[in-house]
Every structure is written in structure tokens, then in C-alpha cells.
Symmetry: D2
Subunit: 274 residues, 4 copies
């Protein structure tokens, strides 16, 4: 169980979302309200896009609430697109290479959930990863294997279809091993231009995921709230659980669906493992 | 806010208390039921006595629940007297030198609570430490300063009086700085022979502390419970919050009092800062 | 590049070998004299056998020279059979799951050297691991894959043959990928009764490895040296580079050979990948 | 013993100096050529100035050579003024609060060297720190106490005089405790506008310190070297030991002297403890 957020829009300093709101992501590392576990203290990571082509990564193995370097970094780093994640291990070691987001080229990936029976299924899943991609797997989590499967199935060309095929393979492999209802996931992934978010579970009861209300609607509700006045109309957030306390700020992502944040109209569609 | 336990009696492996009971100390690192904070993830420590003269220390900076080395150590280490502690920082850095127990010669010390206004009071308190002892202070916590003040005031000769004088100095120093109700503490300390436990707060509402019921009474209540059948009559535990689920196993240490676990009759007395 | 030692004989406290000798293993973490790298600061580990069936492990990710917990542990832990290792990463992450020794059941394994071209060869090598064993791989090093290959090939029944088959597979896989001279290794492994040591490299120029002279010969040379007087005749050490400064104490393990330390006569044989 | 560098001039990405040159600072963490110790693996830190008023800090407790977060940060962070430091502990704990640079308001401070007899002298030195500043001391090193003494003696108004008074107090305190030749130091400090560097030791044999040749002279020597063509005339470096391999690039800072890097003419003067 973990928590994550994705931000896309007007460049802001990372601490605006990681630290400053009530119920901020870093608060959730100690006191999550909607998580399966209330504590997410097994590491933290943030990936952000800037001037450079490739996203930058910071990943720490201690609890997010006490990471002094992250606090400094978040204060002085501005970005218009970033993913952040706090980890609650489901059994794999607490180490930097298991912290999200994972990165491959321009892509970042973070995950909340688990593949049940992963110990049994791992070998078959890893075998399905493109041998060219295989050597880049550096940690031991289910989440990273999901990322490399999605890359194998075309994440860079057709992300929705690639994640659907990944989910399909996980479920098919689980059936072969008699593991019922194996997949539980919310996933956020981005190429630095668009952000895709997925909410799905084999059991049909997925971890929570929310996206932010359109900003002009939100401004109409809260004309006095300074932070949101300075943000562009296209600014969007996707979060495991709501930050802050603004009424009307959040919409749940429906079960078995995906969303795309992009220039122009965003997209919301249904998600079906293939 | 922290949690701690002290064990004295028939030698057992450390994991019997740190890991195996329901609501074990390590469980409390993630889910404390009686703590001011529910999470105690800012470090862990255990000090134990064995063949050697000096107690051995293990202290880790990550959350106790994920410390693989501690789990191994607890499995293979047996001791008849040990202190263990899980930390929730009240502001000082998360680092090994701030993890309890603290050690000086044969003495160990652990603390749950805080000196309020410690930033303001620290210089005066540190100045009151015996200059011979001063260089041995290696961390930056209020808890360690309390230990060195107690050592200065004769902990090794008359522990109760020394801790009372320490508490008195803290309160007097706070008055001089207009800091009200400065001290909140449960303290466990031992020389490898006896264990002293203290429960006190300036405000008269101290953190919880419990001691174990005498074993023959407990055996009468639970004749079928294997673990306690093998322990000597003199075996005792002091804990911040009850471990396990045995009815009748725990007695609260009264407000403003101290207890001594020792060969022969234990001792319970009232505690008054001097 | 790494350094390791194996000890078998009269139980001693670990610090007798890890800390006390001149050129001790912990000294070598900062100043190795014979290593390819002079610094071995990417982690440390020790595995030891005691009362318990399974060996205990301590593994730290910081440099051995500064590991305070290891120093404490080594002071109070006595064992008649232990392996210790200091790591210099050849590229894989510095994390606990990559620290040696690796453990499976009663077996421990440590390695100095590398599989060249491991990124390219890894997938094929991992595929050759017994699917039953595969889920227990928890880190990302070549060393751990070598261990699981040896387990796959019968380490628990015929260690020499299993390690020869492992080396053979590595060389055969490398040939298929046009990777020349892939294997460089000294390996120590034990089941808690006997210790096997291997020295081999595809290029025929292996990392150094030494075993200790028989104790009665050594005592004759150094009648005044207290430490060795108290050790049983069967006490043996295997080390990457000599500890201490006793003349005549060390014999090099020959190229392409293996040794077995065991009750009764030790064994030395030639090593040929199969 | 440690190594540090200070950069002032045309904004560059940190990795231009921390990673890219031969004999870069990060290389020196494993292989220092001029240091008293060849290994500086007890932590790393960098402080830099940017848009914000206060400098940002990153400090890691592991060896610099393996710090993945620092590598990322250095790649994407540009600054026109920064200090970086790699640590070799002289006995105080390896922990973040002991990593340089230290920060107070807009000021940064780093140190290579030691106060000999620091355990004995520490109490008297700490007592001399302004009580208003005292609570901001967060670690346990001699280096940080030197910083707070300099702040006490007016670092923010007259840095050279303040550091001279600090050195004078250290030497006077040492005399009172019969500690001979107590101070060994190169110090770099900055307020974000100017950089002061000091080289001094009581024994008159100070650790090495170099400053970069004026850029137009260096360009005349190396017209083909791309990196230096793009830097402003006022760009300067101060380093514990030379980076790179450019002939004529470095001048030693004389014994018992200080230098100031600033807009307009730099300054070099003699240093006398007061």
C-alpha cells in the first residue's frame, strides 16, 4: 500500500503539494486517512521534469516525514510536471531501487497496490519482459515489473493498451498458478508531456484515486483561495487521497477506468485487461 | 513520544518480547494504541546484558518494523536483562546518536516524553552536567541530557534521588525561562542488576507506564499459557503500553512514582522533583 | 571487488578477526593492500552459526569502518564458524539485499570478483535457476545469481561439482553472447559444518586467496603469540588477503583450485568448470 | 580530514565540478591524492544559492561516490555559487547533522582539519558561543563549533576578524588545557555574495588549499579547452586539491593566509589568530 500524486500545469515549487497542504502527501506518510495502511514509511520518491530532457529522480529509503534532503529539494525545485510517491512495502526490501517512481528514458511510473502471489508469479512475469529491457530492472518489486511489462507491451506508443495488456498478462499468469484476483492497482505514468492514470483491481474494489476539479469551477467555489488563482486553466492533479480541505476540489476516478491529462481536453475511459 | 520496555528475569531470546506478542514493541512502532503519536518510526534501539561486563547496544535509524538486522539479532540473542525503545522524534534529528537506550559504563537509559522548551533550556541544562561527563554526550536529544544530568546528580549511587534532582533542575530552569510545565517523562534505567522506572510529568498527566503482575498470580490466572510457565518467579516487565492480550497481566505505575525491580522484594515509591 | 574471510574452529568473539588484527578485515574496508580496489566501502556483512539451526546474518550498507552496530555485535558474539565480507560494488546498487553473505537455509555464500558482461548475461543465467529457488533471490548482484545457480546444480549435495557446473554455465553463456573471459571469483560457502573455498577465473589470473597454516606448525614458529595458543588444532581461516603480521601464517590457494575445511584432514583439489 | 571546493562565477551545473573532471571531488571521496587520508567516505554535502534567499542544502551520510541522489541533483541543478564537501570523520558520528556545509541564515561553512583534543576543549568552546546562537548547533563536530564561534565573533560583519578570533580562542583554550598545536584548518565560508577561504594551522603546516588562476591567463594557456571558454572573467574556484589536469590552473593558498572572492579585485591577506 502506498500513496502517490501527479501534478501537471503551471510550474510550482514541489513543496506546495508535498508539504504545505493539510493532508499533504508527506503528512500521509504518517497518517493516511484512506489507505489500507495508515503508515507509509518505507521510502519516498519524486520524479520531475525540468529544462533537461530526462526527468530527475530523488528517492529516499527512510520515512518521508523525516527526509531532510527532500524538504530542501522541494523548497527550491519548481516543475510543471512531477510524480511523487510514498511507500508502504508489501514485503520486498526497503531500498532505493524499490522506491517509486521508476524511470526508463523519459518515462516515470508509480503504483499503489500489489500483485497478490507475486513470489509465485514473478518468474513468469519477468520472463515476459522484453530481453532488451530486462537488464534495466534494478529493484525487486511487483510495481517495477508491471512497468517493464507495460514498456514491453508498447507503453511508449499506446499507453492505455499497453497497461491493459500488462494487467491482462498478470491475470492470465495468476490463473495459471491458481492465484485468484491477483491485481490491485492505481498507476500513474508520464512521458513528460501527458499523464496517464489507471484505477483497476481484479476484485473490482480498487484503491482510491481522485482527480482535481477543473480550475475555473474550483475558483468559482473559492474566489478567496490564493494558491489556485495563479494556476493555469489546464493545471491538474491526480492523487491517491485528497489534499487540503477545499470543498468540491476532487472527483473520484471511477472503478476500472483510466484518465489522461494533456493539452486540450482531458480524457477518461474504461479500462479492460486484455 | 516513544515507547519502551524493560525486561528482567529468566534469560529469553529478545524476539519473545520484541516481535512475538500481539501488540509487541515492534508492532507499536507502526500502531501504538496508547501513545500520543500512533507512529514511532524514527529509530529503534536495544541494550542488553550478557557475559560481558558492559551492556551491548544495537541502534537503528529506520523504522523498527523494517529493521532486518534487529530481527536477526533478536532471534539469536538471549538475555536476562534488556531495555528496548522505539523513537518518535520531537524535533531533534533522526540519527543513531539520538536513539535510545543511551549508555554510560554499565548504565543504560531510555525515555518517553519531552522537555518542553528544550531549545531554550538546553544550554543551561548542559552547563549543569559534570564537565567530566560532558564529552561523552554524543547526540542532541533532551533524553540524553536528562541521563547526563542524572549521572551528574549521583545516578550510580542513589538513582531515585538523582532522577528527582534532575527533574527538579529541569523544572527550576524552566521557571527561570518562563516555560510552564516543562517535563513529561517515563524513564527506564538499569545498571545491569536492578531496573528503575519513573513516571512523572510537571502537569500531573504522565505518559502511560505498566509493570507486569507477579508471575505466580499470573500463572494462576492463565495455567495454560506456556511462555510464562518457564519464567522464574522474579521475572518482571515494565512497558509503555501492554504487550499481548493476557487479562490481568499489567498494573499501571501510579502518577509521580517510581519502581525498582531487584532481587527480593520490588519497590514502589513516590517521586518528587527536588 | 571485495574482501572476505571464513573462520572455522574454536569459538572466538568475532572482533578477534574483524577488528583486532593489524590489516583486519575492517581495516581492509578502507585500505586493502591486495585488492583491485583499495577501498571496499559499499557495505559489509557477517553470517555466523550458533546455538540455533540457521545461521544469523548482519548486513550493513555503509562502510564497514564506520558501522557502530557491527562493532558492538562483534564484541559480544562468539562463534566457531563464520563468514564475513566487505563490498566494493561493481555497479549494482548499494543496498542490504546486495550485501554478502547470502543465505539459503543453512547455507551461506560470499564472493569476490565479478561476472563480466553481467547485464547482458543476467537474463539467461537467472532463467537457469531452479524455478523453486527463483523467488528467494532478493538482490540484484552477480554474486547472488552465482549462489542460486550453485544451489540449482546441487550445492547441498556435492558442492564442488555444483560450483564447477555454475562456472561452466557462466562461461558457456558468455560464449553465446561473445563475452570473453567472463568469470572472476573467489567464493566461500558453508553449511555450518564444513567450509568450501574456490579460486578461479576464466582468464587464469584470479583474485588472491589464502588459507592459514596448520596451527601446530604456526605455534612452533611463534611460541609467544598468545591468541593462537588457545585455538584447537583444527582451527582454520581462509582470507582474501592476510590478516596480521605473523610470518609463515598464510599459504596461497593455488589458481583454479578449491579447498575444504572439515573435521579430519582438509582437502585441496583442482577446479574445472563443467 | 576532508576535502572541499567553493565555486563562484558563471552559473554551471554542479556535476561540471563534482563529477566530470578527472580527480573530481567525488573521485577524491575514494582516492584523494593530497589528503592525510586517501578515503573520504563518511558523508558528503553541497550547499548552493539560487533564486531563493537562503541557500539550499543536500547532505548524505554514505560515501559520496555511491550517492545516487546527489548524482541526479548535480545533473539538474545550476548555480553560480556553491560549496561542496566530502567528509572523513575524525571520530564524531557519521550522521547528516555532522555533514558539511553547515548553514546559518544565508551563511554556509565547511572545514577540512580538526581541533586536536576536541573532547577536552569542547565544553569551554561551546560555552563561548553566543547563547542566542547555541540552540542552532545541531551536530557534534569541531567544525560546526568553529562556525558558531565565528558567528559569535562577528562573521556576518567582519569575516576575517571573526575567524581570526575563533582561531585565537581555540588556541587560548587549548593552552589552558595543555593541548599543544590544537588547530588544523582550511575553511570556506560564504554569504551568497562573496567567498572567504582560510588556510591555517597552529603547527604551521596546514592542509593544502588552492585557488584557480585568473581565467584570461588560463585561456591563453589552453585556448582549446571548451569548458573554460564559456565562463566569465570573474569565475573562481577554491579547492582542497586540484581538479582536472590543466597545467597552470592552480595556485596554492599560502600558509597562514586568507583569500576573498568577490566582485572586482579578489583579496589575499595574512591570517593571525587573535
Amino acid at each position: 500500500m502506498c500513496r502517490w500524486l501527479a501534478y501537471s500545469g503551471t510550474p510550482i515549487s514541489l513543496d506546495q503539494l508535498l508539504y504545505k497542504p493539510r493532508f499533504s502527501l508527506i503528512d500521509q506518510s504518517m497518517h493516511s486517512r484512506l489507505g489500507v495502511e495508515t503508515t507509509n514509511g518505507d521510502g519516498v520518491g519524486v520524479g520531475w521534469y525540468g529544462a533537461d530532457d530526462a526527468p530527475a529522480l530523488f528517492r529516499g529509503v527512510g520515512p518521508a516525514w523525516g527526509d531532510v534532503n527532500l524538504r530542501e529539494l522541494a523548497r527550491v525545485t519548481r516543475s510543471g510536471l512531477f510524480l511523487a510517491h510514498i511507500r508502504a512495502s508489501t514485503g520486498t526490501p526497503v531500498q532505493q531501487s524499490n522506491c517509486h517512481p521508476f524511470r526508463y528514458g523519459r518515462w516515470l511510473w508509480c503504483h499503489n497496490g500489489a500483485i497478490h502471489g507475486f513470489r509465485e508469479l514473478k518468474r513468469d512475469l519477468v520472463l515476459a519482459v522484453d530481453p532488451e529491457l530486462y537488464p534495466s530492472i534494478s529493484g525487486s518489486t511487483d510495481s517495477e515489473v508491471m512497468f517493464y511489462l507495460a514498456l514491453t507491451f508498447g507503453l511508449r506508443d499506446d499507453p492505455v493498451r499497453a497497461v491493459e495488456r500488462m494487467a491482462g498478462l498478470v491475470e492470465q499468469t495468476a490463473r495459471a498458478h491458481d492465484v485468484p484476483e491477483p491485481l490491485q492497482m492505481t498507476v500513474g505514468t508520464t512521458d513528460g508531456e501527458r499523464v496517464w492514470a489507471f484505477r483497476y483491481s481484479s476484485v473490482g474494489k480498487s484503491r482510491t484515486l481522485f482527480y482535481s476539479t477543473e480550475l475555473n469551477a474550483l475558483r468559482a467555489l473559492h474566489p478567496d483561495f490564493a494558491l489556485i488563482q495563479g494556476l493555469s486553466e489546464e493545471t491538474r492533479l491526480i492523487v491517491s487521497e485528497p489534499l487540503g480541505e477545499l470543498e468540491g476540489a476532487w472527483q473520484p476516478v471511477p472503478e476500472s477506468s483510466y484518465g489522461v491529462i494533456q493539452k486540450g481536453a482531458d480524457e477518461l475511459g474504461s479500462f479492460t485487461p486484455r
